[in-house]
């Protein structure tokens, strides 16, 4: 998926939870939101983007993504492609 779009979506989520003064809690909340509502392929892509430097991601979002467990690469494999 378009990584720029994912970065925008992740930052939008981060902007809501960033109102929490406790930034550790804020990062946990962002990570929880991503874990509960993002399809695995989206999580896998944003994790990879974060590992590669996370261009465009807010700091609090980068911290949150770092909390996400790795996502197995199984569901979006296309047979015979």
């Amino acid at each position: 998926m378009n990584v720029d779009r994912l970065v925008t979506m992740a930052n939008d989520i981060g902007a809501f939870f960033d109102a929490e003064p406790d930034k550790v809690e804020a990062a946990k909340s962002i990570a929880s939101h991503l874990r509960r509502f993002w399809d695995p392929r989206m999580r896998r892509q944003i994790i990879a983007h974060n590992v590669e430097g996370g261009t465009g991601l807010k700091d609090i979002v980068r911290s949150a993504i770092a909390l996400l467990p790795a996502v197995a690469d199984t569901r979006d494999q296309i047979p015979n492609k």
Partner: protein
């Protein structure tokens, strides 16, 4: 800036602070006092743990803490954190007026009207949700209702006015890509296990894609097919050209609808739909009221919607054996705790039922949150203001908002085929006289509306119904293509498109837009296909 005021409730002996809301409740005789705030805070702390340091929320929490006229009902209902500051100038009506354009005094009067209503209910529509911060606004509304004690009894509450007749029912039944019926997350192993046992299949514990993400994934080749029932994203979803590209990229698009809608132009398979007069089932409205829908005529296409779906499933190798929608409802009751005591027999006998309908509430639950919330204590959430990134610019100086008119229903698939077109036969662009004059636009002129997504052309309606700087149109007519200009911006939590804010420029023109010309060609091509005529290149 107004000084927060304190109020001591004499009827119940409890105190409340209404802050700038001036909270009062039916049944409480109260007097405003200039002091006593800390005493009230301490009292509140005994009952609540504030989960918010947002000053506005803390004020609301104080107000809620004072609701003591029915202590058994409302005491100890919310979570309050003790370290919350009591006031922040950023949240004063004067400060927010600079952003909202709403006069501070008007905000105070509205707040007092709501707080002093005795029973206050908030009904909101898509003007709240179709923003990048729509969810935040809904959370703020919930905070306010909780803070003022307007939840958990008859005549109060927060009620979304849905955009369609069965949005609530679809949500209840797990149409979200992350939930099973009854709002249970797919990661819940016990819930999944109950469905796996009933259906004989393994279910994924991961959330799926939302509609906008499906289209994104289609464009990168990881989302290959879709089955669309009674929905027309090619007309209703934002950035039409993006949607068309995504639908074109898919290997298999199946559309089931009453009419050959815009999305059907991209379908590999079209299946007939049935109207509400031609099928059995239920619709659920925003007060959780499930109402029966009973067939009054045989489906003109031969099958009810559920029968079409069942035949498709059987053809694909997963057999379904339902003989009537009542059997599907029986399955819902077996698998969904909040519908455990539900049945068609009961529904027909009672006329309608508000869920939860359980052994403890066999005839349904007219009022939710009585005594306590589903999660236990209410939770105040922070609602920081985050402006949309879609801003007017020198290139796009106006803000477009889209909506509906009374004569037509959403994409107009049904209403455009009726005499309703007598009242409205086209989408029109409402533009303020000042903005029109500046651009040399007169009533009825054809105008081009351009955004960073695309351009459309439609007739102008010069009117002071819209404010200077704002233009408005509907999306009922496909030839207009209103969503050609709307953008991919969406709500942070739900991805509901931000239909209410698109930066545009409007100019007087003579010709249809390039998209509209291509759309006409597409429609003509499709009609030729339907007539069995060869298409001339």
């Amino acid at each position: 800036m107004a000084t927060p005021m304190a109020c001591a409730g004499s009827a119940s002996g409890a105190a409340l602070i209404g802050g700038e809301l001036g909270i009062a409740f039916r049944g409480i005789q109260y007097t405003h006092v200039a002091s006593g705030r800390q005493r009230v805070c301490d009292t509140a702390k005994e009952r609540f743990k504030l989960d918010s340091t947002r000053p506005a929320d803390f004020r609301h929490a104080h107000a809620f803490a004072g609701i003591d006229r029915t202590p058994a009902l409302l005491r100890a209902r919310a979570v309050i954190r003790a370290d919350a500051p009591s006031h922040d100038p950023r949240n004063s009506p004067e400060a927010t007026a600079d952003i909202t354009g709403v006069d501070a005094d008007l905000v105070r009067r509205a707040a007092r009207l709501y707080a002093k209503a005795g029973n206050g209910a908030i009904y909101y529509g898509l003007g709240v949700t179709e923003h990048s911060q729509g969810s935040t606004m809904v959370i703020g509304i919930a905070n306010l209702a909780m803070a003022t004690g307007n939840l958990g009894r008859e005549g109060v509450g927060v009620i979304p006015l849905r955009g369609q007749n069965n949005v609530q029912g679809a949500c209840d039944m797990g149409s979200f890509p992350h939930e099973l019926s009854g709002y249970r997350h797919v990661s819940d192993a016990s819930t999944r296990a109950s469905f796996e046992t009933a259906w004989g299949v393994k279910l994924d514990a991961e959330p799926g894609l939302r509609l906008p993400n499906m289209f994104e994934a289609a464009l990168d080749g990881t989302f290959m097919g879709v089955y669309i029932q009674g929905e027309d994203p090619a007309q209703s979803d934002p950035n039409t050209q993006h949607i068309a590209a995504a639908l074109t990229a898919m290997c298999c698009v199946v559309v089931q609808d009453l009419f050959l809608n815009e999305t059907a132009h991209y379908a590999h398979v079209f299946l007939p739909g049935s109207s509400f007069l031609e099928k059995n089932g239920t619709f659920t409205n925003a007060e959780r009221r499930v109402s029966p829908v009973r067939k009054v005529m045989e489906p003109r296409a031969g099958l009810e919607d559920w029968e079409v779906t069942m035949r498709l499933s059987n053809a694909l190798g997963y057999p379904m054996h339902y003989r009537h929608p009542s059997e599907i409802m029986d399955e819902i009751a077996r698998l969904t705790p909040t519908f455990a005591a539900f049945s068609y027999e009961k529904l027909d006998r009672l006329g309608s039922i508000q869920w939860p309908c359980t052994d403890n509430a066999p005839e349904g639950t007219p009022t939710m949150h009585v005594g306590k919330f589903v999660r236990g204590k209410g939770k105040f959430l922070l609602t920081e203001y985050v402006p949309t990134t879609e801003r007017s610019t020198r290139r796009y100086p106006l803000l477009l908002t889209t909506g509906r008119m009374l004569a037509h229903y959403n994409v107009g698939a049904q209403t455009r085929r009726t005499a309703n077109v007598t009242w409205a036969a086209a989408d029109r662009l409402e533009i303020h006289p000042d903005d029109a004059e500046m651009r040399g636009i007169k009533e009825g002129d054809w105008v081009g509306v351009a955004s960073r997504s695309g351009e459309i052309v439609l007739p102008a309606d010069v009117t002071d119904r819209v404010r200077p700087g704002v233009v408005y149109t509907t999306f009922h007519f496909p030839e207009t293509g209103a969503n050609v200009v709307t953008t991919e911006n969406s709500d942070w939590a739900t991805n509901c498109p931000e239909y209410k804010v698109t930066a545009v420029e409007v100019i007087k023109v003579n010709d249809p837009s390039a998209w509209q010309k291509r759309h006409r060609e597409l429609i003509e091509q499709q009609l030729q296909f339907l007539r069995g005529q060869a298409v001339q290149k």
